[in-house]
Amino acid sequence: MAEHFAYFPHTEKDINEMLERISLSSLEDLYSDVPSDFIYKGEYDLPEAMSEEELRRFFGELAKKSPKKKVFVGQGAYDHYTPSVIEYICSRSEFLTAYTPYQAEISQGTLRYIFEYQSMICELTGMDVSNASMYDGATAAAEAMRLCVSSCRGRNRVLVSESLLPNIVETLKTYAHFAGIELAFISVEDGETSHSALEGMLGTDVAGVIVPSVNRFGVVEDHEGFSALIHEAGAYMVEYCDPSTLAVVKTPGEWGADVAVGDGQSLGIPLCYGGPYVGFMACRSELMRKLPGRVVGQTLDKEGRRAYVLTLQAREQHIRREKATSNICSNQSLMALWVTVYLSLMGPRGMKRVNDLSFEGAHLLKKELLETGLFEDVLSDKPFIKEFVLKPLCDVTALQESLCDAGYFAALQTAEGYVTFCVTEKYTEDDIKGLVEVVKSLK
């Protein structure tokens, strides 16, 4: 046998004893029912096995090729501060190495934090019921699109605002294409979803409408009259939101929406190049049984003790198969824990503070950037929290490169040719002034 591997406990003695028990003479005999030409004979095209120190060195080299930057871009992934407690709790092996809580009696830890998560998502969004999590905001939006169509008999069309982030729109298009759902896009007017365009597009074939609460320009949209219009046309209203901003911005519940979706990444989950994040979906109680994904419910055990279980499983794939509300099995459970611990630490005052500091920083940055004379204000009368766009009056590539060289990731370009910035509570006035200095050097 080759040089021993720390994760394989088997000694030669173990292997021989086990082979004897099963009446076989070699490990290869275990595959005698496999056509012999399928047994891979050569050496796998992999490097030599690395020890832990070699791994540390290897990944250390990769890290050097990706120096850390001060992140001043949002666009669906926000560099909010992560409290120290969260990592500590989420790496407890009873949470980290556990499986889906099918055996409720030894999974009350997982089940209870999911119940807490569901409760807090309802609080943030103003909805009645939440599921146990989805993969990310984009796929949660796609599932909401499917929910509208399956809940609205005979209707196959969903209206989607062009002010949603492009990666979400692309994901919706992919899911819609293969599911045979028709999408139509509501145009943007003056930096937000056009009320009049929406009105013109509603009809007896529309099952749902998806609009962002805070859109890709960072603008807090005004959805006055939307839910009345949409409901009168017999359709469902889906709000795509950034949960961090829901502490201060009107909630989907307050807007009269039927479903709220989005990504919980802004609730203290590190950027991590895009994942793992956590999609959420919450809805009004009438739609409870249409919710995709797992759901945890409260009950009593045989001794009358409060206990939690996965419930309403009859909607799910392992029971309903092709008639299930969705194919989703594993979700992003540990990230739901992450978000739950975050919200427990932050509380209502912490959430307000995050938004106050972000608001302060973003408005300061915008003012200073405009003062450089290298940008023009667009959407000047539209309210924003932490993210905004400007029209560049300078060479964008040069701007991006200078910022990158100085250690900033900022001024990402949008489809319209704007540049986008985002400031969170993680960045100080010094960080902001530093960025502005780099911009000024382009003059």
């Binding site: 049984r289 309403l312 499983q313 009859a314 029971i319 309903r320 008639k323």
Partner: protein, 124 residues
Amino acid sequence: MSKIIPGLLYSESHEWVKVDGGVAIIGVTDYAQSELGDITYVDMPQKGDEVTKEGELGALESVKTAADLISPVSGTVVATNNQVEDDPSLINSDPYTNWIVKVEMSDVKELDSLLSAAAYENIL
């Protein structure tokens, strides 16, 4: 021993039918409720829905399983049992008194292909 009521008509998918003029009153048999276990939810059709014989009329859910309610006749849904909708356990406690859906039949002759109580007992 599974309970079967004489005088009703039965389908192979374990629904029973009581004929009331031109209306078929539909429920599920004792065998069905026992196989499903504790019924937790009934997915009802809506009044006015058109159904075809052997088409889906709705569904019954229990904790670990779900089963489609197959319509024994074609026609239009004229009523659904609100009591059963509020308390699905009624189907478990008395599957024959607690009907689920009433369908106004479009073709009474379809009843001829359903099973008698004796014939249903044979297939169990």
